[in-house]
């Protein structure tokens, strides 16, 4: 299905280097530290494993996921009789790889008509920006794309999305500030279906996951869209700020409960020094796959999450 064209090849190379560039800082600390720790250690002992634990925790992987990774690493060290600290890196890489790997293609749309992505998350994670970038991504793939602004709460959120719609040249459904977001979502789904759109991306208002009434509003949006589109074609995508710590787990739990399961994560702001390690914990503890990651402010800086490149870039 994936035809290799020269254009695609160039894109792939560009993407990979961007990926690496964005993650350079992450890599510098994570791998740099491990190498340092490994270099200092003459043999594989508890000190080395403690250092690895520190590095994982400082990358926001969290205590419990870190302990599990270390536990598995220990077993591997024992069973494979690893004596060389250098080989520990290889084993660690495989360990993390096994956790974040997912076999599905995040960009796959349903084969029978309209797919709807409902994009949600807490305030300030980058929902509107990500919706704008996703629109560009799908329209580049020659998919008929529509975006709907259902953030009727935050001042000027609709205008912000409209700018993105113009930039990516996709269809745009706007709502007046203060209108019922579910009503806008319903209108958008109805018109997307009528116009034969391939994917409708709904931008929702940021909300803290602990606010019951706001979570109920989100559930209502999903329910209303399900009147127009079969439920299996509606995907809830959670935007997670890459700088978020262990609260990310709580976010996934609450949003998941509200909408009956999160289909995938979009992790933003990974071009800073944050390691975004909480996604490893999320993948490990809750099995929610990572679909896209944001590596910068440009319209093309949102990329499908590719675990191979991710771990390769981390451990190169």
């Amino acid at each position: 299905m994936l035809r290799i064209t020269p254009r695609r090849l160039v894109d792939q190379v560009k993407f990979f280097s961007k990926f690496k560039k964005g993650l350079t800082k992450t890599k510098e600390t994570l791998v740099g530290n491990i190498k340092k720790a490994v270099g200092l250690a003459a043999k594989v002992d508890d000190d080395l494993l403690d250092k690895i634990e520190q590095i994982l925790i400082e990358s926001d992987v969290g205590v419990s996921a870190s302990l599990k990774i270390i536990e598995n690493l220990k077993k591997k060290v024992a069973s494979d009789n690893i004596k060389d600290p250098e080989e520990v890196t290889t084993a660690l890489k495989a360990e993390i790889m096994a956790i974040v790997r997912s076999d599905r293609n995040p960009a796959t749309l349903s084969s029978d008509g309209l797919t709807v992505w409902v994009v949600m998350g807490v305030n300030g994670t980058g929902k509107t920006t990500s919706v704008g970038k996703l629109a560009k991504f799908f329209s580049d793939q020659k998919k008929e794309t529509m975006i709907a602004a259902c953030d009727t709460f935050r001042a000027a959120a609709v205008d912000q999305l409209e700018v993105w719609a113009e930039r990516s040249g996709v269809q745009f459904i706007r709502a007046k500030d203060g209108t019922d977001p579910a009503a806008v979502a319903f209108d958008a789904a109805t018109s997307a279906k009528a116009r034969g759109v391939d994917i409708l991306i709904i931008d929702t208002a940021g909300r803290l996951h602990t606010k019951t009434h706001l979570m109920a509003e989100l559930a209502k949006i999903n329910k209303v869209v399900a009147k127009v589109v079969p439920e299996k074609n509606i995907k809830s995508k959670l935007i997670l700020d890459g700088t978020t710590g262990q609260n990310g787990l709580s976010q996934v739990k609450f949003f998941s409960e509200a909408v009956g399961g999160i289909d995938g994560l979009i992790v933003t702001k990974l071009d800073g020094t944050a390691k975004g390690g909480v996604v490893i914990a999320i993948a490990e503890e809750m099995s929610v796959p990572i679909d896209f990651i944001g590596l910068g402010e440009q319209i093309d800086d949102l990329k499908p999450f590719d675990p191979e490149s991710y771990v390769a870039a981390l451990f190169e």
Partner: protein, 440 residues
């Protein structure tokens, strides 16, 4: 996995309580749990390590006090340490006596700068200051419009120059402010990454040209380990004067607050606790430390109640209670007052011990709406004398409120119990505090 720091520490102390005195061994065990709890709360790895080391020294030194329960002793030490880490006193925003005073707001993308700027503007407008908000974010689409909309909401002027250079925008804004006798200028700068040298230089340049009295960094309370890098870099390059924590109304334990305070040494001055423009509070280190340790935050609750509850209404209610004339109408009024105080969950967090008590028992805001509907479906006579509500009236009320007769029965029964309970409370005096919210 989702256990709060509070619960972890409580569990730790419980195991400690069994022992006669603090020994090297049981302290180690407790500290291990505390360390884990701190890390789960996103306190930076190294900050947590230092914290634990300090507590350990003090705890072992305190071993000789035999009369005190060892658990309580550790609680006291940890609590005091937390307070001193967070900053030993409340520190407010500095406003110069020679207007215009300038506050510059900076931070990462999505940390909540624009919202905080507007909340701050409203806070000083209420104090009688003339405030000017400055839209210094020419990059993000519609950022200017967002500030303008918020400015309109709170009735504060917004200065903007479209996509002009931010340094120029700030300079022009300041000269306009001087001419118009503005007391306070708030510069809302664009979000940026701390490693983006170009944009960090831009901030340094703004700082140099407008010389703000306050340079506040806005940090998301949910930030993880990276908080030390972000705050550290901003401080290193700009010498910030204070920190504002946003999104503290979520369930993040706010370990980032500890980390940031430790790495910058700057006081945390303000806390954003909601989406409303009035949801801005001063940072009280002792309250946050108490909250982390599960001692509740009753001071904030009382303040909130004082802010929102109508004193006259409360006095009237108290009089009625003394005479046992509490009616369903009063109950309805009470619900309205309670609703003004914000979401129930956030109130529950403030009540000492309630966090633990309410764990698992989810508060359904809808049950409150249902009770409201039931009361509104009654005639004034029924609200005044609930005893006249007979079977057929119950049927009618159920129909009118979209509930069942069973719901009505339950509500009336609870109301009766509440009335009885309130009667016993009034002996001690009930100043407006809605203690009788038991049905929820």
């Amino acid at each position: 996995m989702f256990d709060s720091l509070t619960e972890k520490l409580e569990a730790t102390f419980k195991t400690l309580r069994g022992h006669g005195s603090l020994t090297d061994e049981n302290i180690k065990e407790a500290l291990k749990d505390i360390r884990r709890a701190l890390l789960d709360a996103d306190v930076n790895y190294k900050v947590a390590r230092d914290f634990i080391a300090e507590v350990e020294t003090e705890a072992i030194g305190a071993e000789t006090i035999r009369s005190v329960d060892p658990g309580q002793l550790i609680v006291k030490i940890v609590h005091q340490k937390l307070i001193s880490l967070l900053g030993s006193q409340t520190s407010d925003v500095y406003i110069s006596e020679h207007p215009p005073s300038v506050i510059m707001i900076c931070g990462l993308q999505g940390s909540g700068k624009t919202t905080l700027s507007s909340k701050l503007a409203l806070r000083y407008k209420k104090k009688g200051k003339k405030v000017l908000l400055v839209a210094a974010d020419p990059y993000r689409p519609a950022a200017i419009k967002q500030l303008q909309t918020l400015g309109k909401q709170i009735d504060v002027d917004v200065f903007e120059m479209g996509q002009a250079n931010p340094v120029e925008i700030c300079q022009k804004a300041l000269s306009q402010a001087s001419k118009q006798f503005v007391d306070l200028v708030i510069l809302d700068t664009a979000g940026r990454l701390h490693i983006d040298d170009e944009l960090m230089d831009e901030l340094a340049e703004i700082k140099k040209s407008v010389k703000p009295q306050e340079l506040l960094l806005v940090a998301d309370a949910m930030t993880g380990q990276d908080a030390v890098n972000v705050a550290g870099t901003f401080h290193e390059k700009l010498e910030i004067t204070g920190v504002c924590l946003s999104k503290m109304d979520g369930d993040a334990r706010g370990g980032a607050a500890l980390s940031i305070k430790r790495v910058t040494g700057c006081p945390i001055k303000l806390v954003g606790v909601g989406e409303k423009m009035t949801d801005l509070e001063a940072f009280h280190p002792e309250r946050v430390a108490s909250r982390i340790l599960g001692m509740g935050d009753i001071v904030s609750l009382v303040e909130k109640a004082q802010d929102t509850i109508d004193v006259k209404e409360a006095a009237k209610l108290e009089k009625k209670l003394r005479k046992s004339q509490f009616t369903l109408d009063d109950f309805y009024q009470q619900i309205q007052q309670l609703k003004k105080m914000g979401p129930l969950e956030s109130l529950m967090d403030m009540i000492p011990g309630a966090g633990k008590l309410m764990k698992g028992a989810t508060i359904d805001p809808k049950s409150m709406v249902r009770v409201e509907a039931m009361i509104l479906s009654m005639t004034p006579g029924e609200r005044d004398k609930p005893q006249i509500i007979n079977g057929s009236r119950r049927k009618r009320i159920a129909k009118g409120s979209g509930t069942t007769v069973q719901d009505i029965n339950k509500m009336l029964k609870q109301f009766g119990q509440m009335k009885k309970m309130l009667k016993s409370f009034t002996k001690g005096g009930l100043r407006g505090l809605p203690k009788g919210i038991s049905p929820f």
